[in-house]
Symmetry: C2
Amino acid sequence: MAASAPSRPRRIGEFDFLDAVQRLVEGSGAIARLGRGVAVGIGDDCAVVAGAPRTLLTTDCQIEGVHFRRGWLTARELGVRAFRVAVSDIAAMGGRPEYVLLSLEIPVASKRSPFDSEAAKAIVRGLAREASRCGASLVGGNVSAARDLGVNVTVVGQARRRAVLRSGARVGDLLFVTGSFGGAGAALRVLERARSGAALIAAAVSSTTLAYRRPPLRVELGAQLAEAGLVHAMIDVSDGLIQDLGHLCERSKVTIRLDHRAVPLHPSARRAAADLDLGGAVNPRVSSALTGGEDYELAFTAAKRSRADIERVAARLGCRVTMVGNVAEGAAHVVDSSGRTLAALGGGFDHLRW
Amino acid sequence: MAASAPSRPRRIGEFDFLDAVQRLVEGSGAIARLGRGVAVGIGDDCAVVAGAPRTLLTTDCQIEGVHFRRGWLTARELGVRAFRVAVSDIAAMGGRPEYVLLSLEIPVASKRSPFDSEAAKAIVRGLAREASRCGASLVGGNVSAARDLGVNVTVVGQARRRAVLRSGARVGDLLFVTGSFGGAGAALRVLERARSGAALIAAAVSSTTLAYRRPPLRVELGAQLAEAGLVHAMIDVSDGLIQDLGHLCERSKVTIRLDHRAVPLHPSARRAAADLDLGGAVNPRVSSALTGGEDYELAFTAAKRSRADIERVAARLGCRVTMVGNVAEGAAHVVDSSGRTLAALGGGFDHLRW
């Protein structure tokens, strides 16, 4: 549960609301009792609760009309996506998922909105198999009627060594990211533009939309880095790289220098950016790759001496890891290599801002 | 997650679907690995996972237009109700809640559907305080935009001694229920009939709708009975007493003889029933109290010798407990005291059947 606030005018944006939620919950005394089993409450990727190894708790959802439209991906892909999005928070703590709960909201079948039990089963099958591939079990859930299809996923995980928090970044650390950015954003633009049935079907099976339909799964990398004690702070990038790095800064009370030119762009985002070369100015297509959200990659900081070990782990897992900046003393800001605040590039994706 | 099937024609009813889900999940191998920490998967009130004491996992939701309408209860009452409904499954296993996750779906404010952050905060405040009263902490969650307001609650609990399953009923046991039945059903009829604004406001603050707005909280009773080893099988009654007793029968492979005349009716349901005396025939108002759903009382079986101890625990907690039948050898049926199948009275509430 994120809880920082972007520095721009707000309606009831998610971060604003989460801020309020955090204050409320702290005020209610429910979370203050850290001695009674809550090590980390609202404000990091997962809650961390009692026990050794540490138990991680997180919940996420995919709602029709907000996170997806039915033509954008198959029911089975929706199940896979819902799990990968939810488990991303477990990965960001360096944990491994163990148990999954599914709360399905299913539109009652009607002429206007046909939905059959086969589609529902395909969602469950996709989710259960994907969970199983990660060593986790779908252990329960709930089914309700609703106007819109909704897939709520709760994941219980374990951090074998310790949970990697957002607050652990140290001055002098290097900043790394997994994979590439902007692919899901580019995919969403393709899907949103496809108005005719045929265009939508073409888009929904195209490799250009795969980054959205099948977000990366970084559980094994996150867990191995954490278990080897190689990382100081980690976050999953769901709301745009710059915004999520902002959360790291804020929790760690450091400045992050991001060499944004070093951030790997997804091939779809790179093609879009290449069409628009603005010389010295910030290319808005590059900017959108860093702020667009839905990437589900990991960003983490680590000591310089850990770099070779990190690259060895990543190579063994076939996962791209790129050094894209470092951690400096200073106010909680994300700046570029020349010190300009990157928040000016624009905020990330806020689920309550349509 | 319930998984039995009523014996009547079905569309994609919840039980049908859950049946299919259970087969799917078992087939996927995700749940078969009971040795890897899953003691009880889909098919009981909660999942039971590794550790001593046993960890319980459950999730439930309240969706606008399905479980509530906005005028029916205040935002704060919705938060309390969402927690009480979800924690009812923990109570039914004899557990105590520890951690709560909230996934809120919030309609974006519009003229047609005004919704402000104060209402969202009131939901969270209601839920967090209610959790806190039960010794549990709201540790995290998620906020998403949606067309309809939705409150998804996941509860992690512990069974200090052992989890009380649906499958534990023994031939010769007595059958008990907590509280009274039909109150929420009667409240829903009042709320649904209130069409004008003034009538709705009157209904929504009336004591006749309190059973719906504020379901009973049976955590302490369920936990004390379980911790004292007094109960063999337990279930929470969310979908109608007769239907939920059907789940107990099915899992325990026994016949339950329910003396339906002994089941305490809520005053609102009793008033409605008194208007309609049919002599020897089954009074449909009584029937609806036993099949109407939303009661969130507990039903449990126990050895005859435990009766005095059970009544002592209940008296100490100020909770009404009534002996309403017994457990017999035979097919998995709920029958009345003269042996007639009570399923004929009608099924319970199925969330996918509007």
